[in-house]
Subunit: 155 residues, 2 copies
DNA sequence: TAATACCCTACCAAATTAGTATGGTATTAC
DNA sequence: GTAATACCATACTAATTTGGTAGGGTATTA
């Protein structure tokens, strides 16, 4: 139903927690306790955001995780892609494989445009925005206002 | 992976086909042949868009389907919702059920804003836009241009 | 009354996702 | 150099969702 995965959501929660404590390293257990997530789930989440370069992991005693990038530099798109790979609304626009319904498929390729718009929106919203609801509200209204001013060419 | 379902895509293809012939009624077989989809799949697609009121069905001999609304009045959002129900990126923002991680969930509620933006974009693009790629390109550029002019408040 | 063509429900198989378990490896402290 | 800490990698299971299919029912028209 056009949903993002739960893990993506968890990822945002964890990043928020890491942003909260700044440079202080936190272990898996710390994070689990702070967020209310289970330890195994946190582990899974950490792998994704470490691989994406959003978080730095240090092993061994005295190890732990700390955020690698300033919250204002982490976009929602970064997080979504860390968990769900490259975004593409349809198979057509993503892979290079041809779809079966060749004749009608020229139409489907238009999803690409919608896809780009979605990417743009997700890229323009940062972890910092998310963390401050009142700021995010303002941002939200700004974008909606702009969209409302757009005259559709064919109407 | 933040995908729309194949059926939704098919729905758009079928609606395009119906729009092509205007007021002429088409049977399931006609549509299947014209689009390259299988008959059972077309049946499933038709149910969704008939229920959504986008297409009118007439039974009996001489029956068939015809488009119920002008293509310029059918938004991509209409089609997506016909197949995938109300759009909500997270469970939190959709249902009234409480999520388990209570403390951190205030953060998750910010998905709502992103959700609204997505709805807005999908609602502003019509079947007519989709059918004319060059028009849709223009539209696309317009929206992206507007988005680019937005200054994020916290940067 | 028979032919046409939509309608409804249910079923099956494949893919995806969430959650869990387990053994391995790097770093630090003593 | 050994033990404790804590991250790492892989794999497995169960639940959910999705796509595709089947079969019998009902309305309309000739």
């Amino acid at each position: 139903m056009l949903r993002i995965g739960k893990l993506t959501d968890y990822g945002l929660v964890v990043l928020n927690q890491l942003a909260l404590v700044g440079a202080v390293k936190q272990s898996t257990d710390d994070i689990a306790q702070a967020t209310g997530l289970t330890v195994p789930t946190v582990r899974k989440v950490m792998k994704a955001i470490v691989d994406a370069g959003l978080v730095i992991a240090q092993r061994g005693s005295k190890g732990g995780y700390r955020i690698a990038v300033a919250p204002a530099q982490i976009s929602v798109l970064d997080v979504v892609q860390a968990f769900e790979g490259p975004i593409s609304l349809t198979e057509c626009s993503a892979d290079d494989n041809q779809c079966e319904i060749t004749e009608s498929c020229s139409l489907s390729s238009n999803w690409t445009g919608i896809n780009d718009l979605l990417l743009r929106v997700l890229r323009d919203i940062t972890l910092d925005d998310i963390r401050h609801p009142e700021v995010q509200d303002t941002l939200h209204h700004q974008i909606v206002d702009q969209l409302q001013r757009i005259q559709l060419v064919n109407l």
